[in-house]
Amino acid sequence: MTTSIHPELDLTVSRIIEAPRSAVWNAWTDPASFEQWWVPAPEACRVQDMDLRPGGSFRTEISQDGVGFGPHITGCFLAVDELERIVFTDALVVGWRPAEASFVTAVITMKDHPDGTEYTATALHRDIADRDQHEQLGFHDGWGTVTRQLAELVESRA
């Protein structure tokens, strides 16, 4: 399945990593390795669940100081293709149950590259302004437009 990108809501980060695909895959899918790089020091990450199959629970915790941990990601995997692709979201939790709050679907892909692995992370974000609020305000096209229209709304009175 292809991913449709909305430039004003989504982002893609791509990098050539000089290591074989299996090494990148392992760094992602081994919880002890994942904890080493997912959050920037001095924050610390703890993997609670990493059940790598569609509908499998993905839960991580974060700590500002390495002592007290609080929830970070609570979601589930949507697709797990060995050595190729990991898709997760926080719109659903374990067993595809709808989540209370949703924020992101992330698509991680790994491809062979002459210098190692082409790693791409795409984050698809929910349009956080509710649709009816959009309609009330006449906003249609995402954040850029929202921001412009807000600025115009207020500045037109200046």
Binding site: A27, W143, L153
Partner: protein, 113 residues
């Protein structure tokens, strides 16, 4: 991850109400007292003050009391919150990818203890 959506929800919730939008529109023309802002509305002052406090806590306006008059000023931060949110998400993912790259390439050279 959770804090930005919460912040944004507040920012947009503040805009969902016609009274609050109208107040923001008026403040676009410059600072105004509570009395001036409340005048066009057929609303008890305590109810109007709830809207003012909502706009203040969601970062849309600042209020300052001088003597007996409270003056409201438009705060630009809410625009900035929306605009900077996506670029902050980008830097989160770039940081993650940098650290993954570093982790993978260093553990390649020196096997973990």
């Amino acid at each position: 991850m959770a804090q930005y959506p919460a912040l944004l929800d507040g920012v947009f919730q503040a805009l969902a109400d016609p009274t609050r939008r109208s107040v923001l529109g008026r403040l676009g023309a410059g600072p105004a007292s509570i009395g001036e802002l409340a005048a066009p509305f057929d609303m008890a002052l305590p109810s109007f003050m709830k809207h003012i406090r909502y706009l203040e806590t969601t970062g849309w306006i600042r209020t300052r009391k001088t003597g007996r008059v409270r003056t409201c000023t438009l705060e630009r931060t809410s625009f900035d919150v929306i605009e900077t949110w996506l670029s902050e998400q980008r830097s989160v993912w770039e940081g993650r990818t940098d650290r993954l790259e570093r982790f993978v390439t260093t553990t390649q050279k020196e096997p973990p203890e």
